[in-house]
Symmetry: C2
Subunit: 222 residues, 2 copies
DNA sequence: TTAAATATAGTAATCAATTACTATCTTGAT
DNA sequence: ATCAAGATAGTAATTGATTACTATATTTAA
């Protein structure tokens, strides 16, 4: 398909021609990347250890030299997703003072992250829906809680500084913010087109902003 | 577990107490219901034919007397979902004239359907995301297309009759409508609480309506 | 050399699907 | 009406493929 992952070690011998022996920690990172990669194009729940191993040019058994079991792999992947997503969102909102500006930056940063890593939301969705209470699920849930709390704070301060409607339902607004992202992501995953999501995101957020802003505030400067 | 399925045909013979042998078509319907039931509490993709059979008090092999293979089961299930969901939405919007009124009725009807059948959206999400182009996926995709087209028409006529903003982005508004539902559903599935979704839906739709309505139109009559 | 990293080659469990066979209902000629 | 013949719906056992996981041998970098 993409053919750009790792076929480049046949002849060209620089430092490592056949990088067979890789230190354990780096191998774990490679494993996480492989899983996220695979999750981008197949049901996360049915990604086998054999498929992971094949994708990173290893034998299946070798995986278990670096992870005690499959759940541990999932935990590592969820950890990666939570860390990188939150970092990206924080970075985007850092230099902006206005609450609505912060929210827009967060929204677009979140969308961009998902567009870069389509496997991430699929894993989140799949993992969170499962009945089984895995370590990975606990991680995902705590990230969601943290996300929602931060949003509520932001919306509340937006009301206080007059950018948002006084009668705005803070909880509903936070729910809709997250829901809007999830909905956009779902539709893009269904369409199999992440670029479409990038294009739609600003237009959709504009409507959301209309919905929460103080009447008359939202100027259409397009 | 419930013990009321088929043990009752030894002595009592009226017209039909509960015959052990069930005609093929009804058995197929029972199968569909069993799958949707199971999908409500476990990953649809990992529902086994054995689990389906057990849930409807049959042996695993008997399933294949009524379906040629597993894909055929999924196709039948998707057909059921598409038919019932669309019927319910149509019924809700039928007697309402105002476009925004129609949209609200559709929104709430959609949410109610999902709350009644939590397995349905899980199957749709799971099926639509998969890379494999199954008959079930084709069915789901055509339903989504039909849904989106109907929404765009409704929003357009809402603009024409003055209920919605003139500068409203029709496509984005339709995307956000569906996305809002999907987001609400996702969050409820994650929380494992369908009643919460029923309660949140009107509050969230109110914000959406704010976002698409003509300025000054939306009266807060609460 | 030596210890970590990987390969090889297994395991028991589970999957969808098929088989051989049995039980029950339906039908039509008498 | 009756009752063999055929159709229908079921069971139980088994298939080959695939799963997560493991035991042990081999390779390679320091």
């Amino acid at each position: 398909m993409d053919g750009c992952i790792c076929m480049a070690n046949g002849d060209v011998s620089l430092t490592k021609t056949k990088p067979k022996k890789i230190p354990a920690e780096e191998r774990r990172n490679i494993t996480v990347e492989a899983v996220i990669d695979l999750a981008g194009s197949s049901n996360p729940d049915s990604i086998t250890t054999a498929a992971i191993a094949k994708h990173m040019k290893l034998t299946q058994g070798a995986i278990f030299r670096h992870f005690p079991n499959k759940d541990a792999i999932w935990k590592a992947v969820m950890n990666w997703v939570a860390k990188n997503l939150m970092a990206r969102i924080d970075r985007a909102a850092k230099d902006i003072t206005s609450p609505t500006g912060k929210m827009e930056a967060m929204f677009l940063a979140h969308i961009a992250f998902v567009a870069d890593h389509p496997g991430a939301p699929r894993m989140l969705f799949g993992e969170l829906q499962g009945a089984r209470q895995t370590p990975a699920k606990r991680l995902a849930q705590s990230m969601m809680k943290q996300y929602a709390a931060r949003l509520r704070d932001m919306i509340t301060s937006g009301k206080e500084c007059g950018e948002l409607r006084d009668n705005l339902d803070v909880e509903a607004a936070a729910t809709l913010f997250i829901g809007t992202i999830q909905g956009l992501v779902m539709q893009s995953l269904i369409a199999g087109d992440m670029d479409k999501m990038r294009a739609d995101a600003p237009r959709v957020f504009d409507i959301y902003l209309h919905g929460i802003s103080r009447a008359g505030d939202t100027e259409e400067q397009e």
